[in-house]
Symmetry: C2
Subunit: 151 residues, 2 copies
């Protein structure tokens, strides 16, 4: 059946971020929908941001487009152009290599929900606000190439 | 600014279907969001189905995955497994080459809205219920290869 039973898809708050940058995404709970949907062309994440949670550290990808659709609740989209409220039905596009770091932050007192579309990161990802860089989608390093203290 | 101004994106009900199969999609009004969002990895359509309208003729693609997210209103997803109501927040995945033709039909008396994700059709698309076939994504023919009367 093509309709997905979202409740049957495991929700996780896993992150590959080093401990010093992980706290903002600790209450980002997501479901990967491409595996149960048997999709290969793109990834789909169903994301719940609990109050205070961030979608990611503010970032932009060199070679992967991203697209977000708000489903419920409200978040603030922060990028180089400022702060933009995102409400149910709102859509945002993050074209690859545009150099405009973006993040969604739930500043409300209720969970918000959105869908994020994009291919798995296989290129460099840039984090303008913090001392972190993702090289070729393989792993996080400081901007001078040194490793984090993974604790 | 990454947030898209949907009202500024032109809405169209254009279809490449031949006249005899076009009436079901006449009140399918859609906006292509990848061009204004400057996305290349996948296409995004913001679709309004007015009462009675179909998302497409029931079909499946050989080489393109599709994914749908309901935003507002209600539609019925019709596929080989039967009829499934789709309500706001519901998601459905249509993996390439699965042989399961699908369509969303608005049987309600109000418009419904959804987002559809997928790459442009560049492969064969199969229509199990009607005498139509899309060959290599290039154009519609009858199943015996003959042309339609385009009027």
């Amino acid at each position: 059946m093509p309709k997905l039973d979202l409740d049957a898809v495991p929700q996780t708050n896993a992150t590959g971020y080093p401990p010093e940058y992980a706290s903002q995404v600790q209450e980002r709970w997501y479901r990967r929908l491409a595996p149960p949907g048997r999709l290969e062309d793109f990834g789909v994440s169903h994301v719940e941001l609990k109050p205070g949670a961030w979608s990611a550290q503010r970032h932009w990808h060199e070679e992967e487009d991203e697209f977000v659709i708000m489903l419920a609740g409200e978040a603030v989209l922060v990028d180089d152009s400022g702060r933009t409220p995102m409400r149910p039905g709102d859509c945002a596009a993050f074209p690859k290599n545009d150099g405009n770091g973006h993040v969604l932050i739930n500043e409300s007192d209720k969970s918000c929900f959105f869908i994020a579309i994009g291919r798995p990161a296989a290129s460099d990802c840039h984090y303008p606000d913090i001392d972190m860089h993702l090289e070729n989608g393989r792993g996080f390093r400081r901007k001078d190439g040194s490793d984090f203290d993974w604790g």
